[in-house]
């Protein structure tokens, strides 16, 4: 019988099927961070259980870490306590731990691929919804709750009903100024934040074939924002080239054996999906969001839709625009902004900083704009320096901070003040997401760079011609 890429990976990880219930689903690699793991470890303790396969779990501190002066003790006692708990729990159970300041430390979904923890055909979970990022390598990767973190720690399995299957095809090449982030925001604007709930997505078509691994990670990262548990892309030569030689990638004979398996990881031609959508890149321009969920996005040169053309009810839609301080029918171009945030597991990789630098090079940051540039990891930070990007961004009036999740969710001190507008390369524009009362406009690193220079929402193509 023909099957999809998703079927092939899922089915080989089912330990046991329960009638009328979920599958007992085996997890190859498990990532943990300081926020969603402490209660899981308390659970283990209460049950008197040890971690079953500690070498399959990897710990990094990211959500709650400062992005300046990381060499100093963490000031907030609660944050410091979480970081200490992660370190101590990892030590007690023999889990590899990359704490604050460690050279391999960074955002969990950035360091996973960097270190070859992320592999094709693997199952990967983490107590974080953007675990979907790792699907870029042909892995089944998704976010889980803390109860499930405890399940993985204690038995390397979780209980999951198999999701339905969706394929999203995007045909064509990316236009000028259009990035993988725009492709993802476009798809979410078409499907809404619940359009893929209950499904696992496979992305297919020329745009994804042509995309770099980092671009694929950005797209898969945002799968959760359309409600999907995860999204994946079939592995190809780019995938193998990316993972080869990394720290936890199989080597020698193991590599050859793994390659034999990885080459089978593609959807059979006559395989059937429960739902399928097809889009064209010619319809996609640089995107920006105007509301309070990632589905409220539009081409940057468009006007904010009126309530009679949207999926939300009128009251919900008006509440959202009211929060943003915008009116139906407004143009987004020219709207004044106050902050720019470049970073996160969505757009905190080296290609994102290259894109940002390509626009700010030889220009100056707008005086009234506060910009936070936060690399996804120390490895990204080092590359920014190596490639001379740091000089470019410094000359343009920007400074680089230290790695972490930062203003994406504003758990640390990096909070956008109430009422202020932030053009952000992150993944969520929910009310208060970047700090109480903050207003977020999600966009690509190119759009963020253009806004940082002009101080208002600007079409990056103006700088690229």
């Amino acid at each position: 019988m023909s099957s999809t890429l998703f079927d092939k990976v899922w089915d080989t990880h089912v330990v046991r099927k329960i009638k009328g219930g979920p599958d007992v689903f085996f997890i190859d690699r498990h990532l943990i961070h300081e926020v969603t793991s402490p209660v899981a470890f308390l659970g283990l303790k209460a049950r008197g259980v040890k971690v079953m396969e500690p070498q399959r779990t990897f710990a990094t501190a990211d959500h709650n870490t400062p992005t300046i002066n990381q060499h100093l003790p963490v000031k907030n006692p609660l944050s410091a306590n979480q970081l200490k708990a992660l370190e101590e729990n990892s030590k007690e159970h023999g889990i590899l731990h990359w704490g604050l300041g460690h050279k391999s430390n960074g955002i969990v979904h950035v360091v996973g691929p960097e270190n070859g923890i992320t592999l094709p055909g693997a199952t990967i979970v983490c107590g974080d919804s953007h675990t979907s990022t790792h699907g870029a390598f042909g892995a089944i990767a998704f976010g889980i709750g803390t109860s499930e973190v405890e399940m993985v720690l204690s038995t390397q399995c979780i209980m999951q009903p198999k999701p339905k299957k969706m394929r999203i095809n995007v045909e064509g090449s990316l236009g000028l100024g259009v990035t993988p982030k725009d492709v993802a925001l476009y798809i979410i604007s078409q499907l809404s934040t619940s359009g893929a709930t209950g499904y696992f997505v496979e992305y297919a078509g020329t745009v994804f074939e042509e995309m770099s691994m980092e671009g694929r990670m950005t797209v898969c990262n945002l799968s959760i924002e359309m409600g999907a548990r995860g999204g994946m892309i079939a592995p190809d030569d780019k995938t193998y080239e990316y993972i080869k030689g990394r720290r936890f990638t199989p080597k020698g004979e193991d590599w050859d054996k793994a390659m034999e398996y990885w080459k089978t990881l593609k959807t059979d031609e006559d395989a059937v999906f429960d739902k399928e959508y097809t889009y064209k890149t010619s319809d996609i321009e640089p995107m920006i969001t105007y509301g309070t969920n990632p589905g409220m996005g539009m081409g940057i040169s468009n006007a904010i839709p009126t309530s009679d053309t949207v999926q939300e009810g009128k009251a919900t839609y008006e509440k959202s625009l009211n929060y943003m301080g915008y009116n139906q029918g407004d143009a987004m171009l020219g709207k004044k902004i106050d902050f720019v945030f470049v970073g996160s597991c969505t757009n905190g990789r080296i290609e994102d900083f290259r894109a940002f630098a390509s626009i700010v090079k030889g220009r100056k940051k707008a005086d009234h704009v506060t910009a936070w540039l936060v690399p996804g990891s120390h490895i990204v930070e080092a590359k920014i320096k190596e490639e001379g990007l740091l000089d470019i961004i410094n000359e343009a009036g920007f400074v680089l901070r230290q790695p972490g999740c930062s203003a994406c969710l504003a758990m640390n001190d990096d909070k956008i003040p109430a009422g202020k507008y932030s053009v952000s390369t992150s993944n969520r524009n929910f009310e208060g997401r970047q700090g109480p009362g903050s207003r977020t406009l999600l966009a690509s690193p190119l759009v963020a760079a253009a806004a940082a220079i002009t101080g208002k929402v600007t079409d990056p193509r103006e700088f690229l011609n």
Partner: protein, 198 residues
């Protein structure tokens, strides 16, 4: 940990007729700094419930004394966003044992089931009927019968069936959790591990 058994819950309810209620509203990230599972109910819907100075927002349903009960009725696509189980903990800790909506986000729904909060998905029409009934009489009661998989508006007798997989249903009826199940089949899992290439 095993949790309270759930069979029949009859209670009045709090209405929250807003769509796409995301987990950052249910519990903002800045309240996720604890290393233990306690006290999250105080910060449930923090920024909708409280003004910046810490005073209560009088017009928010959870602050309105005319409402009460162990059931929260939310708008469509309830719980979208983050995987933070803290959102489900906050709902539980506030005193809710059941959330009713016409559509749930996946991870939130799963998290609720894992801690003994029953997510009940009803039709759009029935959701509207429930909201209308609460608006008319804030003390109106709703009966959620897990064993029979029905949700009923007591005042009108109108009822609708709801879905839950039989494994999760059994767990909730008995207060079992998944970890107990997985621990019991650990040797089978250990055999499976040997077949994994990496």
């Amino acid at each position: 940990m095993a949790y309270d058994k759930f069979n029949i819950l009859q209670s009045s309810a709090y209405p929250l007729p807003i769509e796409n209620v995301d987990t950052d509203q249910i519990i903002p990230a800045r309240f996720l700094k604890a290393t233990e599972r306690k006290g999250f109910g105080d910060n449930l819907f923090r920024d909708w419930r409280y003004n910046a100075d810490g005073s209560l927002k009088e017009d928010f349903p959870l602050n309105d004394s005319k409402y009460s009960g162990k059931i929260l009725v939310g708008g469509r696509n309830f719980g979208s966003g983050s995987s933070r189980e803290h959102a489900a903990w906050a709902v539980y800790d506030f005193g809710f044992r059941c959330v009713i909506s016409s559509f749930f986000a996946d991870i939130f729904k799963n998290n609720c089931l894992n801690i003994g909060v029953l997510p009940v998905q009803v039709s759009e029409t029935f959701a509207k009927e429930i909201f209308a009934a609460i608006e008319e009489d804030p003390k109106t009661e709703i009966k959620v019968d897990l064993d029979n998989q029905t949700v009923t508006l007591i005042a009108t007798g109108n009822s609708e069936p709801f879905d839950i997989n039989s494994y999760k249903k059994e767990n909730m009826l008995n207060g079992y959790d998944d970890i107990d199940y997985l621990q019991n089949i650990k040797s089978e899992i250990q055999e499976f591990v040997k077949t994994r290439p990496f």
